[in-house]
């Protein structure tokens, strides 16, 4: 297997290079096939790798390493480290990545930047694979920055629009703040462990005391990185803006894979977090707060992609909450099902936008059920999955997360359940407004409405099937399942020698009761939403018509304006002060004086250059004599 590992990142990289260099010469079909084929190849290799771990749960970690940085006392290696976790992530990235590439062939067919788009997508997959395959935090960081770059390029893909460019810059800068935390975390790790490789770090971490300041600091700093990349409070504002990119990008990067990098990092370093419960508490609180906060904002958004974006933020918050209570394998389970149904939701939204000719406002949609049957069916499946209607995938994964929350503390369960119910409300609001009722768009749009081509519907169908049956991976014991995924990850989730015991066991009865409560709440919520938007046919108003708290929600709690006022404006002030005083008065003066001084000196010294060659030779000979004499008499 080791011999094939390099193919995993190499194929997307090759796709990027070919599509990138030959983008003006390849036809769209060829470029699309190269891009998709590269990811398909990686997916096949990924399956082969995964199969090893599947057949043999105790399979050894595949690791390759080579010397990278070797300066003085700093020795850093680069290499691949593939265990159960990486193999799982590789499957998600390349599998969903391939479906989305396929989808993009249809979605981007009429875009002039089609070939460039595929080059960027391949670049993204390459860096994402580096991120999950790397054998050290430094290599993870390389992938981390790489996906940030790909994300930047793709958000600003339609770069003739200034708003889109600003969204791209915002995403990049927000991520930088998180990356600073990650970097500091790495420095801390290197300072304390003298290495950045996973294996030795995890081995040494075990020797620290519970809640050792070192581990808590590292865990918190790494979590700051995760906050940026996975869009948690307070660094989440870039993700809704990132919807400026083409919809397949939103599906692949800003829903299914890149934003889960933070989750991956914490699961990867789970031993550090388990040994630092204080940090875990922070993760828990931030995750829970983000989950509720973003869900509330999602209630009043009218842009189909914005709703999904806030839903993503909210679900990521739920995942961090799960990590906060130490339910790592449950988080991975929900991450996987979330990747299925959220990618599906975005792709479905893309299909709707495609059919509507670029319209994104749900107030002008409605009644699309008949015109877009496949999109309708798959979107419904995904909505039900995210709402947690049994027996769809979301039910099992969300329920498991909630169960772990309850085991930690019932209060957390109440809050998380509240966030879930809000999720149900805004998702069904979105669904009903889009697919039920009457069409509210223009005549022209109604005429233009059409189902998407097969290359777009096939990924939808595949993802719908996965969203429906995905829960089978980890059926809990009370339904006669054997919690397969939980066992699969057992080797990755370390059980430290002196970790604090989390929560308490709950009885089957209570577990069933919780499920029942959730399902009941979900159904009630759906009924209320249906009553409002279908039976009464209400159409939400624009934010201008809203008042009070509702308007505040519709305007996203003015967080962007707050950041603008408290951070951006003062920064501009400081910058202009620096510019007018330090730059113009001081630095320019020094630079100009240096130049003018040299000009003045040259005016004197140019006299030496007589241009007489005989003179030059004469001076040369005298200099030789002087040198020899110096050697002879002085030294």
């Amino acid at each position: 297997m080791k011999e094939l590992i390099w193919l995993l990142p190499a194929l997307p990289l090759a796709g990027f290079i070919i599509n990138g260099l030959l983008r003006n010469y390849l036809s769209k079909t060829v470029a699309g096939l190269i891009g998709s084929g590269a990811i398909l190849g990686s997916f096949i290799v990924g399956i082969l790798v995964f199969q090893q771990f599947l057949v043999n749960p105790k399979a050894e970690v595949i690791s390759l390493s080579y010397q990278w940085i070797d300066v003085l006392r700093v020795h850093i290696k680069y290499g691949f480290y593939i265990d159960h976790l990486s193999a799982w992530m590789i499957l998600i990235i390349t599998g969903i990545g391939f479906l989305i590439h396929l989808y993009s062939m249809g979605y981007m067919a009429h875009d002039e930047g089609h070939n460039k788009f595929f080059a960027y997508l391949n670049l993204f997959v390459f860096f994402m694979l580096i991120l999950v395959m790397g054998s050290s935090y430094l290599l993870m960081f390389v992938g981390w920055e790489g996906v940030g770059l790909a994300s930047y390029l793709l958000i600003g893909f339609w770069n003739t629009n200034d708003d889109y460019n600003n969204a791209a810059k915002k995403a990049f800068i927000m991520n930088r703040i998180g990356d600073l935390g990650f970097l500091l975390g790495m420095f801390f790790i290197y300072f304390n462990f003298k290495t950045l490789d996973y294996a030795p770090i995890f081995a040494q971490a075990n020797m620290y005391q519970l809640n050792d300041p070192v581990l808590v600091t590292i865990a918190l700093l790494l979590f700051v990185g995760a906050m940026g990349k996975s869009a948690q409070l307070p660094l989440y504002t870039w993700l809704p803006d990132a919807m400026a990119g083409p919809t397949p990008v939103s599906a692949l990067i800003h829903a299914a894979t890149m934003v889960t990098a933070g989750i991956y990092m914490i699961v990867r370093s789970n031993i550090i977090y388990t040994l630092a419960p204080h940090a875990q508490t922070v993760v828990l609180v931030v995750g829970l707060a983000t989950s509720i906060f973003a869900a509330i904002i999602g209630l009043k958004q009218n842009d189909i992609k914005k709703v999904l974006a806030y839903s993503t933020v909210s679900q990521l918050g739920l995942l961090f909450m799960a990590l906060g209570v130490g339910a790592y394998s449950s988080a991975m389970f929900h991450l996987t099902t979330h990747a299925f149904f959220k990618a599906l939701l975005f792709l479905g939204a893309g299909s709707v936008i495609h059919g509507m000719g670029g319209e994104q406002d749900i107030r002008f949609m409605g009644g699309l059920r008949k015109k877009l049957p496949i999109t309708f069916f798959t979107f419904l499946a995904a909505t039900c999955a995210i709402a947690g209607i049994p027996p769809l995938s979301g039910f099992f994964s969300k329920d498991e997360v909630l169960l772990h929350a309850f085991m930690e503390n019932p209060a957390i369960w109440v809050l998380a359940a509240g966030s879930s119910v809000i999720t149900v409300i805004y998702m069904f609001r979105l669904y009903f407004l889009t697919f039920s009722g009457k069409f509210r768009g223009t005549e022209e749009q109604a005429h233009h409405l059409h189902e998407s081509p097969w290359s777009m519907t096939i990924p939808l169908i595949v993802l719908a099937i996965l969203s429906i049956v995905g829960g089978a991976m980890n059926i809990p014991a009370i339904f006669g399942g054997n919690e397969w995924l939980h066992h699969y990850f057992a080797t990755v989730i370390a059980t430290p020698t002196h970790a604090a015991a989390h929560g308490h066991e709950v009885s089957h009865g209570l577990e069933l009761g919780l499920m029942g409560a959730m399902v009941t709440l979900t159904l009630i919520a759906i009924f209320i939403v249906r009553n409002k938007y279908v039976t009464k046919g209400a159409v939400p108003e624009g934010e201008e018509q809203q008042t009070g708290f509702i308007r505040l929600v519709a305007r996203k709690f003015m967080i962007d304006e707050l950041y603008d006022f408290f951070i951006v404006k003062p920064l501009y002030l400081i910058s202009s002060a620096l510019y007018y005083v330090v730059e113009l008065r001081l630095i320019d003066w020094i630079v100009n004086m240096a130049g003018e001084g040299i000009i003045a000196l040259s005016r004197v010294f140019r006299r030496i250059q007589t241009g007489n060659i005989g003179m030059y030779i004469f001076i040369m000979v005298l200099s030789i004599v002087a040198l020899l004499a110096l050697k002879l008499f002085v030294i």
Partner: protein, 166 residues
Amino acid sequence: MIVDSIFFFLSFVAILCALLVVFSKNPIHSVLYLILTFFAIAGHYVLLNAQFLAVVHIIVYAGAIMVLFLFVIMLLNLNAETEPHKNFITKLIATISGGLLLVTIVGSFKAAAQTGIVSFDNSNIGTIENLGKVLFNEFLLPFEISSILFLSAMIGAVLLGKKKLV
């Protein structure tokens, strides 16, 4: 001893001719004296058992380089009348600084205090066989690179000699 006499004779010829190169008014004479100097140096090479080098020296310098010099001088029609001269002061300063250089270098050698004797009996190092072995074993790469140098010099000379530079 006879070798000593040969050494002194050759040295005398070399130095005399070299001085004549510098001081003769007519460039043609300078070239001819230079050829004589080269012959004297070739004689030294033979004396030092560097027979191959002596032959190559004659062929390259006397045969090729000096002929080139003669051609150019005749082509440009240089002679004693057109020869420019420096003024007396410049000449004096030049001579003094040349003498200074001589004195300093000799002084340096004196300080180094070499006392060895150059043997004329070591007859096998300058043979073609021995030289070829050294050249094509240790110095193969420089040898090949020098061929590139030659090629570029040739192209450069041709390019410079063309009527109009392209």
